[in-house]
């Protein structure tokens, strides 16, 4: 295995282990709840980066995968008595399949048209779910407290789910890393640079795009399932929150699109920053303004994000931080 020789591979494993075990020391639940949010952001940003950074397709509605994952999971667990493991896996697969089917359609659109269509899809699904009685309409789905009994009580269940979310985070990073080094990834980057040229060079663009779109849906859907299972409820406004979708793009940009570590770093920093802004009373009124100004500054002056800046400053850092 060549992977074992790469320092970056071990860095991902170490980071995942740190996330998994650090809050366990002293049973620190506050820290766990902070980290779970970071982890979810990292999952969303990393998978979104597969589309934006690797393929050059700006998915503005990526949150629809997260939301659908949450809904499928809670519905299977709540109404059909599935265990959560089977439910999240199923939710991941079915969401991926839906993305694949949808992808063959909307991925024919390019640039702003694709971006608009993804917004449209998210809003359509949100409005549909809000009216869909099987899934509780605008009230959403609530899990009874007894659900957690099977997992040894709520306290224990939450730790289990936390570890699973961290696992999904680790897999997300490995996936990003693996795709980037693969022939598949090379084809995607060619599509990002110039889709017509890529096609003439032999890249099966329609298949590749649908595949990566579908792949980028899987882990966010699983994460959505775990996250909303942990919360015990899911409502349309929260599941299909377009704002979080766009914030994920900000995270990707902040860290550096097209790199493996960038979106993760961006997501982590964004979560910290957001927390800081929201909990500092003098700033909380202005958290959106500050985030907006920050985003604008990145776009205007550092479009490569943090990683782009680092690479420029210390080119050798590429060898460790991909």
């Amino acid at each position: 295995m060549k992977a074992l020789k790469s320092p970056f591979f071990w860095l991902i494993l170490a980071l995942t282990a740190l996330f998994a075990f650090y809050p366990r020391l002293g049973n620190n639940i506050t820290l766990r709840e902070t980290l779970v949010l970071s982890a979810v952001y990292i999952i969303l940003a990393s998978n979104l980066n597969l589309m934006i950074g690797y393929t050059g397709y700006v998915n503005f509605g990526s949150i629809v995968f997260f939301g659908l994952g949450g809904y499928f999971t809670l519905w299977l667990v709540g109404a059909h008595g599935w265990n959560v493991y089977a439910a999240v896996l199923f939710a991941g697969f079915i969401t991926s399949l839906l993305a694949m089917a949808l992808g063959f359609g909307i991925l024919r659109l390019r640039g702003a048209y694709f971006a608009l269509a993804t917004i449209g899809v998210n809003e359509a699904v949100k409005d549909f779910v809000s009216n869909f009685d099987t899934w509780g309409g605008s009230e959403g789905i609530f899990l009874p407290f007894t659900t957690y009994k099977a997992m040894g009580g709520a306290g224990k269940a939450l730790w289990t789910v936390y570890l699973l979310i961290i696992l999904v985070m680790g897999i997300s990073l490995l996936l990003s890393w693996y795709v980037k080094r693969s022939k598949f990834g090379l084809g995607l980057f060619a599509i990002r640079e110039d889709e017509d040229a890529a096609i003439v060079l032999g890249v099966k663009a329609p298949k590749y795009k649908a595949l990566i779109y579908s792949l980028s849906a899987f882990l966010p859907a699983v994460a959505g399932g775990l996250y909303f299972f942990k919360n015990g409820s899911v409502v349309p406004e929260e599941a299909f929150n377009l704002h979080l979708s766009i914030e994920s793009i900000v995270m990707v940009m902040l860290g550096g699109q097209g790199t493996v570590s960038g979106p993760a770093v961006g997501a982590f920093l964004y979560e910290r920053l957001r927390g800081l802004l929201l909990t500092t009373p003098s700033l909380s009124n202005f958290h959106l303004v500050i985030a907006g100004v920050l985003l604008l500054l990145i776009i205007l002056f550092a479009p490569g994000g943090l990683m782009g800046w680092l690479y420029k400053k210390w080119p050798r850092i590429r060898e460790v931080l991909e």
Binding site: I106, A115, A117, G120, E123
Partner: protein, 284 residues
């Protein structure tokens, strides 16, 4: 039957206002290939500008004038700060830059006005035509939307500056070779697009209560209307708005209001997929 017809009429009238908002969005896209994600926030800002002038004692319809002027200036400033530099970059950049502007507007707006609802309280007369009751506010807003659209067309087709805008929309490089200062034209276009969005917001504010977040709904409706008419095509956008209003009006008596959004977005995605240049053809 009268009920259904009334509903359809209401839809038509509000559809004209949607159309005006959509023209603001589509004009900017048509000329500079920028999808303005600050569109909704700007609509909301138009509502609050009207509120401020109204609070200062101006009649709401008179206040439309200073709102328009402010809207234009605001648009030019936004262009110079946020859009100018990335206008030739990939679409992601302009989408994000305008979204950042949206965050800033909504952030400042929330700090100033919180997110609780406001409304414009002024004297409204009710008319009755053969059983169809309609308020003067609705009629005026529809007529104002039509007048502004005519004004825009007069500008685009009858004035030198307007022709320059069309030239830049058609081919920026060629226009520059002919001596048209394209950067200025782009700034002016962004100003006009912003002005139209603010005016539509101001008109909506005379009809319904609003918050700083209200723009989001109308931004999405503007997307749908522009795409129906073909992105970049102002006439198309107006008709797109009318179609949207008519759909809302004609399905309202039969199904729950909350389903209309589903229908709209399904139409939206469908049109993007199968008629990417809109129902009336036009530029792609």
């Amino acid at each position: 039957m009268v009920e259904i017809l009334s509903s359809v009429m209401d839809g038509l009238l509000i559809g004209l206002v949607y159309g005006l908002a959509a023209i603001g969005l589509t004009l900017i896209f048509g000329v500079m290939d920028v999808v303005n994600l600050a569109h909704g926030a700007i609509i909301a800002l138009g509502m609050f500008f009207l509120y401020l002038f109204f609070g200062a004692g101006l009649h709401p319809y008179l206040a439309l004038l200073p709102v328009a002027v402010l809207g234009f200036i605001f648009g030019v400033i936004v262009y110079q700060i946020a859009v100018r530099k990335i206008i030739s970059g990939p679409p992601l950049m302009s989408l994000l830059a305008t979204f950042a502007v949206s965050m800033i507007i909504i952030g400042v707006g929330t700090a100033l006005w919180s997110t609780s609802p406001y409304n414009i309280n002024f004297k409204v007369t009710t008319y009755n035509f053969f059983g169809y009751t309609v308020t003067s506010a609705r009629l005026v807003s529809a007529v104002a939307a039509v007048l502004v659209t005519f004004g825009l067309y007069y500008f685009l087709y009858r004035t030198v500056l307007g022709k320059a805008v069309r030239a830049v929309a058609n081919n920026r490089e060629a226009a520059e070779l002919m001596g048209i200062p394209s950067q200025q034209i782009l700034a002016i276009t962004f100003g006009i697009g912003t002005m139209l969005a603010m005016l539509s917001g101001a008109l909506i504010a005379t009809l319904f209560p609003f918050t700083i977040l209200s723009g989001g709904v109308y931004e999405l409706k503007s997307f749908v209307a522009s795409v129906l008419g073909g992105l970049g095509n102002p006439t198309g956008a107006l008709f797109g708005g009318i179609i949207l209003g008519l759909i809302e009006g004609s399905v309202a008596p039969f199904i729950q209001v909350s389903w209309t959004n589903v229908i709209e977005f399904v139409i939206f995605v469908g049109i993007l997929l199968f008629f990417p240049t809109g129902l009336f053809g036009g530029r792609k």
